[in-house]
Symmetry: C2
């Protein structure tokens, strides 16, 4: 077992970053040694206070990423800033160059090889050079529309089609997710927001991760996103959506091989969705159907990021993905017992 | 990508071994180079014929394990002989000493550390010495009452109790499984068979695998097996079970921490069970419930053993388990593309 605590930097203290930091603060063997955020209401305050703990942690939130990375000498940074890889690459590079491994919730980093092969290669080379490991993780992409399907494929001899359905009631979730799903927009505004990339990100990454894991080369991939329009008024803590306005979205990623659609990822999320559930259906000689209830996105993302820490520290240097790491399990013990060397 | 085919020996050609060999024969990049079985009706015949292929494979089934292991120079042996590790250890050692990695369906090898720490240590040392990797796998233990729960735990922040239920209609399965589940016995005969170890094996191994993966030290583990008695006549292809006779079994493994039961594995299998299904329930701040339909034990075991081959070949030498390997996914491609080096 490793003797010294695992030193953690939080790069981003928004709702997800703060939730992650609360889990890190409670998990034995982990120690918060730095926190980076630019929000004026956070900078200069103690992390414990900022993330809503009852106690101070003796670490001050700083807007100066470079100085924090340099002085904290962390083992791992938890990066929860943005969804788009191009925009996050300079921040990720700074972390790597400080000799710090990364778990990031950047959706496009979950499986960057197809959409951003150049950046993926750069990050991989840089991480190897600095002897650190980089992982994009989270619940979706990272778990519920990819890893679970990949795990289930392990008991299959042949597969004709994999279908993954995620059904989320955004009314139960934070404001930003409701907003990303288009709550309160007109259909035209929704289409403009979708074109600008302001919706949920990562379905294509999940699709490619599944295809790569099971060894399928796809001829064609298509992603679509459509508004779900309210027929009656629906309300959440943050929005009142009138009939005719958008209450959420329906996003699909589809993959074809030899003219046949073989992979279908289907994400439906809106305020007031009645039966949230996730389903994986594998069609083949022995069809399988898996249903999961209770996957709360924010909570699941925060948990899996923390649970991934020992896997990342044990992995060889470079860019890794959820489907080529050993299974990320809960780590309900001193995390140091799970770290080799 | 590896250039040469992956050379496979089948050690055991019973129903599961034969099903596995049929999958190996159809999967590109794998090549059957040897087959060991002592059954007089198999020895001396071509493997293709023995396993029910339409074609010969040019490999003759031999009862001489040592000679076959020596001459075949295989990369991996698929061992499907028995459930009990003590009895299989000499066979496993012979494979390892021939420089051949192993995937075995020996249930006690799925997680041997607790019940057989001495044998586990010996096999681990021997495998390292010979530079090969040894894995015990299958559907149960190996997947449905352990790996799936471990995977699901990855999105959990805290866990109070994990419950895994497996419900199998043995009427749909091979004769030997119906027999192992006690079909047609009197209650007294069932108890004698259970005492002699002639029932389903592996529940305790699954329990320990989960506990170890998530970092729980258990104070106490208990395994029980009870007969399920037919109230009406039930029939399968192989048995007619009269009222009052045993139609199957109810097996449980339970684990405690600090006086609380925290892990409960529950296996119910009998002829005529109406709704076969597998369920994982995780109790905690965010409860989760997963249900899977369609997990046919023989088919799933055969598939996961073949799908595990590239993971075993890529793993460091020694004894490994399903929960410390990267996720075993389907390998619906030339298996060599999944093998490093």
């Amino acid at each position: 077992m490793r003797q010294k605590n695992i030193r953690v930097i939080h790069y981003g203290l928004g709702p997800i970053g703060s939730l992650i930091a609360r889990i890190v603060a409670e998990r034995p063997g982990l120690e918060i040694v730095g926190a980076i955020d630019i929000a004026p209401d956070k900078v200069g305050r103690d992390v414990g206070e900022v993330i809503g703990l009852e106690r101070e942690l003796g670490v001050i939130v700083s807007a100066d990423a470079a100085a924090t990375l340099r002085s904290a000498k962390a083992d791992i940074a938890i990066h929860t800033v943005g969804s788009y890889l191009e925009r996050e690459t300079p921040r990720l590079k700074a972390v790597i160059e400080a000799g710090t491994s990364v778990v990031s919730t950047c959706e496009e980093l979950a499986y960057p090889q197809f959409k951003h092969p150049q950046i993926a290669a750069e990050l991989n080379a840089l991480a190897r050079e600095h002897g650190v490991t980089v992982l994009g993780s989270g619940v979706n992409p990272g778990f519920i529309q990819d890893t679970i399907a990949v795990v289930l494929s392990g008991i299959c001899r042949d597969i004709r089609h994999i279908r993954v359905y995620r059904r989320v009631d955004t009314g139960e979730r934070r404001e930003n997710l409701q907003r990303k799903a288009g709550a309160g927009l007109t259909v035209d505004e929704f289409r403009a927001q979708a074109t600008a990339g302001g919706v949920h990100v990562g379905l294509t990454q999940s699709l490619q991760a599944i295809a790569e894991a099971i060894g399928w080369k796809l001829d064609r991939v298509e992603e679509t996103v459509e508004p779900v329009v309210a027929e009656e008024t629906v309300r959440s803590q943050f929005f009142v959506v009138q009939p005719g306005q958008v209450k959420g979205l329906h996003q699909m990623a589809r993959g074809w091989r030899g003219g046949e659609e073989v992979l279908t990822l289907d994400l439906l999320m809106y305020i007031g969705l009645a039966e949230p559930e996730d389903t994986v259906i594998i069609e083949g000689t022995r069809p399988l159907e898996m249903r999961i209830k209770g996957v709360h996105g924010d909570s699941a993302t925060a948990a899996i990021v923390v649970n991934a820490i020992p896997r990342v520290l044990n992995a060889p240097p470079g860019l890794v993905t959820m489907t080529n790491l050993p299974v990320v399990s809960a780590t309900l013990c001193d995390v140091r017992t799970k770290v080799v060397g």
